[in-house]
């Protein structure tokens, strides 16, 4: 009898300890867990829209390298092209053109724009040290600093060197 009571009394303690341990040892879900679930698996939507422009079509609208700046193309994917801007062998900025058809929110943020380059809305994102324009309400052209020496003024200057009007005629 005593043995049986002793067992009864011990059981809740054992259970609580077990629960406590399993609760402590189970990892907190990642803050990317929801995105992971939504974007993986068979029925997940593609990250890049089917009708996005080929990245190679963007290359000709990039500015050439300039005195002291070497331009090196670094990525060419569907809906995206990127080139590095290097000075003295060091990467100081990244130039890119992307098709916002895959990510409409990227185009929508230009509704907040208060200035322009030519007729194209301009937006500076200080936390990213990045400045962009939206061409034809679809193509986002961005210059992002990768070195403190490359300032917001430099970013705007390099944005103006893109062939934005040519890009606006891209069909």
């Amino acid at each position: 009898m005593i043995v049986s009571n002793w067992r009864k009394a011990l059981m809740p303690i054992v259970l609580s300890v077990a629960l406590l341990f399993s609760a402590c040892s189970s990892k907190e879900p990642s803050k990317y867990a929801t995105t992971q679930k939504e974007t993986s698996g068979r029925s997940a939507p593609a990250a890049v829209a089917k009708n996005a422009e080929a990245g190679g079509d963007f290359n000709k609208f990039f500015p050439q390298g300039d005195a002291g700046f070497a331009r090196v193309f670094s990525q060419e994917k569907k809906g995206f092209a990127e080139a590095k801007l290097n000075k003295g062998g060091k990467n100081v900025a990244v130039l890119s053109i992307s098709d916002t058809i895959s990510l409409p929110a990227a185009a929508k943020k230009y509704e907040k724009s208060t200035s322009k380059i030519g007729s194209y809305p301009l937006l500076d994102e200080a936390p990213l040290k990045s400045t962009g324009v939206l061409v034809n309400n679809r193509y986002q052209v961005k210059v992002a600093s990768r070195d403190p020496s490359f300032t917001a003024t430099d970013r705007q200057a390099w944005l103006s060197k893109f062939n934005l009007d040519g890009l606006s005629k891209l069909k």
């Binding site: 990642s30 974007t39 993986s40 990250a47 670094s74 995206f80 895959s102």
Partner: protein, 295 residues
């Protein structure tokens, strides 16, 4: 299902033999490689932002891009994983609890055997081809464009350059000696398709190598190695790399007696996964750059 990109980057080790052996190559490319680990940390370092909302948004886009199989990022990660020898599991598990200490190779000599020269030659050339194919999968240049790869090699930096430095030192100079480039070109030139077919590293990734049948793939591998040989040769000469200088730096953390140097290549092969480690770092960087530019 394969691991999420944020898990792969979050789980990269900060110590252990792979990291120590790469650190030992700092003298080859001084200060150019930092062992950046952690997904959010990589976002901060690549973009320079510490704004949590931006970090979350960039991270989410990078996760989505990685998960889109058509984008090629998962294929690249698979290539980096697969060419790292499967035999390393033995070493990794046995040495996992020795982080921070000096490693003695002696206790593992019973478990490792130097590879035959032919096997090592194929390993080195197949790893190089894996780099070319992975580069094209990540950056989107068509898979058989060796010319584009060569142009980009000049701009290799950080973890990508460290991967190439390790390939040259750990898979070239140490196991094959100072004339490894000429030796590999000779051996590959005279190799038959059968010899290639029997190689484990080749078997692992052969479906991803351009060229059609094994003979065609052999041609692609030989041609790729030949195209990059000039760059590798410059890399070795300009930095004064010899098996002795590399071994000298490795001696800072591995006890190696001179009569056991033959085993060093095999020891590194079973105990490190530098392709997978730096490959995940390269992939994360490129994904994050793209995500930040697109958002």
């Amino acid at each position: 299902m394969s691991k999420a990109i944020f898990e792969l980057v979050d789980e990269l080790p900060t110590g252990g033999l792979t990291v120590m052996s790469l650190n030992a190559l700092d003298f080859v490319i001084p200060g150019q490689w930092q062992n950046i680990v952690g997904f959010d940390n990589t976002i901060k370092i690549v973009t320079g932002t510490d704004d949590p909302d931006y970090i979350q948004a960039i991270g989410e886009r990078a996760v989505a891009l990685y998960n889109d199989k058509g984008e090629g990022y998962q294929t690249a990660m698979w290539l980096y994983n697969t060419v790292d020898s499967g035999s390393r599991l033995l070493g990794a598990a046995a040495m996992a609890n020795k982080v921070g200490e000096s490693f003695s190779m002696l206790s593992f000599l019973g478990n490792i055997t130097p590879k035959a020269e032919t096997a090592q030659t194929i390993d080195l050339s197949v790893k190089l081809v894996a780099e070319i194919v992975a580069f094209c999968q990540i950056n989107g240049i068509p898979g058989d464009s060796v010319g584009d790869f060569l142009a980009a090699l000049g701009d290799y930096g950080g973890e990508s350059l460290m991967r190439m430095a390790a390939l040259i030192c750990f898979d070239g100079l140490i196991p094959l000696g100072p004339d490894f480039i000429g030796m590999v070109m000779d051996k590959m030139g005279g190799m038959g398709a059968n010899e290639l077919e029997g190689n484990q590293t080749f078997k692992g990734i052969k479906d991803q190598i351009p060229g059609g049948d094994t003979g065609g793939k052999l041609g692609f591998i030989t041609e790729s190695f030949g195209s990059v040989s000039g760059w590798m040769s410059d890399f070795v000469t300009s930095r004064g790399l010899t098996p002795e200088t590399v071994v000298g730096n490795l001696r800072n953390f591995v006890e190696i007696s001179d009569d056991k140097l033959d085993y060093l290549g095999a020891f590194l092969d079973v105990s490190t996964n530098y392709y997978e480690h730096t490959g995940a770092q390269t992939l994360a960087r490129r994904l994050i750059e793209r995500a930040a530019a697109e958002m």
